[in-house]
């Protein structure tokens, strides 16, 4: 493990070594799973579909179903139209979903398959729906693919009924776990506001075991809900990278006011989320949520000396990293290296602003970076803690630094997808994880005479 990055400040200029992102289609697939009764469909080679399903299954530890156009060499010569038409016929005949969400792959994009045109010619059974998004893997990242599929939900499904806007809220939750989506549901319902959230993978990828396998589990935003999103009075887009595009389209097409916010990870971002709803709908924040907030502050005060001033490297998906950086600053930690694999100038702008406001200097920030680079930074100057996905474990071991696992994917620890990191409860969980990681390290490293019962 120690050799994974050579010594010295060499950097690398081309390609990726140990990537901090993956390709668009998996994001589109995950988003599509958040529609009730939906079968995601991968228009490309079989391997893509198999890899995406496997990767999602490893993270969520639940079955993930998706069909594939099963391209062959012939398809690649003659184009994928026939395969997609056959797929549509087979999918509805055999798996009978309510809706099929097609995403492309680098192969079908390179061939140049014109999906809208193919869909026009395809025989789609009465009452069934096919939506699509172009997700060339050679652009953006899995977050871009997620964003694209959510936007496709709006462009295909949302429909204004022409009347007044309804007293209801759209939330686009971003590429977060089903446990997070469940928590967002709970918070909004405590505020007494009617919610349409899409996509929504709670009760899809965190469904209970009943010994009966449901191909289309209970959860997911229904088509009717997504349709009705055009009639809501506002859309809260959580996380600019994953959610803004869909919210913008709702505003542009149907005049639904878009409210872009950070992912509600951490105290301030959660406050902002609650206040936005409070201000827009004129509701009062119930005591239950005020109590939760108070508990977070109480805990921060009880534990601040465990982590204050500690340096931290944060990497992962941009919306997560931005919110986590903000929370690390709230906790008094020093975010030293902040990196995402997803491209986008906005990342740098947002992070720099957070750092400047906190008067932190000398941190390294990078979008579209990889873990080789992060490792080199850490080799140059160590940090006390890493926050990121499972892929951080190589650096954590090589440099002997504790790793707190947050984001996607977490494929070496269970239960993560069920436990929220959003909201006030999410704050408590993060504080627990971060301070425990540092305390475990202290217990492990200290001399016998410094080994304390009470910390």
């Amino acid at each position: 493990m120690l050799e994974c990055v050579p010594e010295g400040a060499s950097g690398h200029t081309t390609g990726k070594i140990n990537p901090a992102k993956t390709c668009q289609p998996i994001g589109a697939m995950y988003a599509a799973l958040g529609i009730h009764g939906c079968l995601p469909h991968s228009h490309g080679s079989q391997g893509c579909c198999a890899y995406h399903r496997m990767h999602l299954t490893r993270h969520f530890r639940d079955p993930v179903l998706a069909s594939s156009s099963s391209f062959t060499e012939g398809t690649s010569v003659f184009g994928g139209a026939a395969n997609l038409k056959t797929s549509i016929k087979n999918v509805f005949q055999i798996y009978n979903p309510e809706i099929m969400a097609v995403h492309t792959t680098c192969l079908s994009e390179t061939i140049g398959d014109d999906i809208p045109n193919i869909l026009k010619q395809a025989e789609i059974p009465e009452g069934k729906i096919v939506i699509h998004v172009n997700t060339p893997s050679y652009q953006g990242s899995h977050i871009t693919g997620f964003s694209g599929m959510v936007k496709a939900m709006v462009s295909y499904l949302a429909q204004s009924d022409g009347g007044e806007k309804k007293d209801q809220l759209n939330v686009i939750p971003g590429f977060v776990n089903p446990g997070d989506m469940r928590e967002i549901h709970r918070i909004v319902s405590e505020l007494g506001v009617k919610l349409i959230m899409f996509p929504d993978t709670s009760d899809v990828l965190d469904s209970p075991l009943t010994s009966k396998y449901e191909m289309y589990p209970e959860g997911g935003a229904t088509i009717a809900e997504i349709r009705d999103s055009a009639n809501s009075s506002a859309t809260i887009a959580l996380g600019a990278f994953a959610s803004n595009d869909a919210a913008d389209l709702l505003q542009e097409k149907f005049g639904v006011t878009g409210i872009p916010l950070k992912l509600p990870i951490g105290l301030k971002a959660t406050d902002d989320f609650l206040m936005a709803i409070k201000d827009w709908f004129g509701v009062t924040v119930p005591k239950s949520l005020a109590v939760e907030r108070g508990q977070v502050i109480d805990t921060l005060i009880d534990t601040h000396f465990h982590y204050q001033g500690k340096t931290v490297a944060i990497f992962g998906d941009p919306d997560h990293v931005i919110a986590l950086t903000e929370f690390a600053l709230t906790m008094g930690m020093v975010p030293k290296y902040i990196l995402t694999g997803t491209p986008g100038k906005q990342f740098d702008v947002e992070i720099q602003k957070l750092l400047k406001d906190a008067r932190i200097e000398g941190s390294k920030v990078k979008a579209e970076g990889d873990l080789f680079e992060l490792h080199q930074w850490i080799k140059e100057e160590k940090v006390d803690l890493i926050i990121g996905t499972t892929y951080g474990k190589y650096i954590a071991r090589a440099e002997d630094i504790p790793l707190v696992r947050v984001g996607f994917p977490v494929i070496d620890r269970a239960v993560h997808p069920l436990m929220p990191v959003v909201g006030y409860r999410g704050c408590l969980r993060l504080i627990e994880q971060i301070s425990n990681a540092l305390l475990e390290r202290r217990d492990r490293d200290c001399l016998d005479e410094d080994y304390e019962l009470i910390l």
Partner: protein, 462 residues
């Protein structure tokens, strides 16, 4: 008559076109259709050529594995196997040329060249495997020419792997692409020769959970040395010594039969199939290896080893057998050789095999499988989850052996699961592996957690 109809109805595929891909156990059945392409629109458990090539070559520990394509293919295959290394950890890093739109439009060769140059400069690896993906294949990047030029420029092996995903949805085709790449590495160049030795090569062995090392210990005890394993815990230098073996033993035939045949053609090295999954298979394989060497001392050591190990594990296996007798098992794995091995082992544990399927089995292999099963058992090629679910429930399966996608399905249905995939972490080979396997089957089949399934807070819902 009626029963016959019921049985037939029970074998109905969910997709009528797939009817011929499902058959039943017993001898003299109609031939199963296999190695067909998967239907467009089906939820297949199969993957692609790239996937096949990647799993075969990935365990070459000190090589750089550079994936030439957009990022996904590299991310999903980053450190995917439980193949252990006794030395370099280079293979556990993920290198990608990370093709962008610009590269797709104007060609990715330039970027590939830059990546190779940078990797050589930073890591000085003895070899770089350059994997083609869908896009690089589609736009016609000439990875062969790029590799050849880079080889001579840097005086290291840069080996192209022609693994564009669209070539086939069958991993076996990818195994071949990997095999071709391996042969390129192995065949001596510039008139060099490799001295023949009394050592053997171990083909189709990936050192999952240290399996190569275990077999190496057995062979050492018999007085036989492993020259190099393909590809578990192998190095570029060791692979180049492959022609020096006097025998090739082949475990995973799907991935390595072609290599063995070519090594025989090129270097007159004979080969034999072996199988170290299960105690009986292990003993049988060790005896056949001993017979090849035909040396009284080797015979004596082999028998002593087998007797000692069998005596050691027999009572342990018996204990598990008591718990597992009569339990019903299903198998769905990648290759047929593995399916056959698991059938034997589960039978040794007294279990009934009610369903067996593979992603890539061949007709003769399915004949073998059917021959090992009784008539009520289902045999299936390239199953989709709906079919698996149907048969798992219908056949009241207690435990399933399979890979990562089957695990989630089995658990959701309340069925035990044992991992026999290429990414597992446990050593399941040899005598020790037989015990580990029995233990794993026991743990998941007889877990107290299944009792909780029968309890419920809302009886009216049931």
């Amino acid at each position: 008559m009626e029963e016959c109809c019921v049985q037939k109805a029970g074998l109905d595929a969910c997709i009528s076109e797939r009817q011929n891909s499902i058959s039943s156990g017993g001898k003299n059945k109609t031939a199963i259709h296999c190695a067909d392409d998967s239907l467009a629109g089906s939820v297949s458990q199969r993957a692609c050529v790239f996937c096949g090539a990647r799993v075969v070559l990935n365990p070459v520990t000190d090589a750089v594995h550079l994936v030439h394509g957009p990022i996904g293919c590299a991310t999903y295959t980053w450190d995917i196997r439980g193949s252990l290394s006794s030395g370099s950890e280079m293979y556990r890093n993920s290198f990608s040329s990370d093709m962008k739109e610009h590269d797709v439009v104007f060609g990715g060769e330039k970027k590939l060249v830059a990546c190779i140059d940078e990797i050589v400069e930073k890591y000085h690896p003895p070899a770089i495997f350059v994997y083609a993906t869908c896009v690089s294949g589609m736009i016609g990047d000439d990875i062969i020419a790029v590799s050849k030029a880079a080889s001579s420029r840097h005086s290291i092996e840069v080996i192209p792997v022609e693994s564009s995903g669209f070539i086939s949805g069958n991993k076996v085709v990818g195994y071949r692409a990997a095999a071709v790449a391996l042969m390129k590495l192995i065949i001596p160049k510039n008139g060099e020769t490799v001295q023949k030795t009394r050592k053997l090569n171990f083909l189709g062995e990936y050192n999952l959970g240290g399996e190569t090392w275990l077999i190496q210990r057995y062979l050492a005890e018999m007085g036989i040395e492993i020259n190099v394993a393909f590809t578990g815990d192998s190095t570029v230098a060791a692979l180049k010594q492959a022609p020096g073996a006097c025998l090739n033993i082949v475990q995973c035939t799907g991935s390595m039969h072609w290599v063995a045949a070519n090594l025989e053609k090129e270097f007159e090295t004979p080969f034999m199939s072996v199988n170290f999954f299960g105690a009986e298979n292990t003993a049988d394989s060790l005896r056949r290896i001993a017979a090849f060497y035909d040396d009284p001392e080797i015979y004596r050591c082999t028998e002593a080893l087998i007797a000692r190990e069998m005596d050691r594990i027999r009572p342990i296996i018996q204990r598990y057998r008591k718990k597992l007798t009569g339990k019903r098992a299903a198998i769905y794995v990648g290759g047929a050789y593995k399916a056959v091995a698991i059938i034997r082992q589960l039978k040794e544990l007294g279990m009934e095999i009610v369903l067996t399927g593979t992603q890539t089995g061949k007709k003769e292999e399915y004949d073998d499988i059917s021959g090992m099963l009784d008539e009520n058992a289902v045999v299936i090629d390239d199953a989709n989850p709906a079919e698996l679910e149907k048969f798992l429930l219908e056949k009241r399966v207690d435990v399933m052996a399979g890979g990562v996608k089957e695990r989630a399905l089995a658990f959701k249905l309340g069925i035990g699961f044992v991992d026999h995939n290429h990414d597992r972490k446990e050593c399941l080979a040899g005598f020790d592996g037989a015990v580990t396997f029995a233990h794993e089957v026991y743990v998941t089949t007889c877990s107290p957690v299944w009792k909780q399934l029968k309890r419920t807070l809302a009886p009216e819902v049931c």
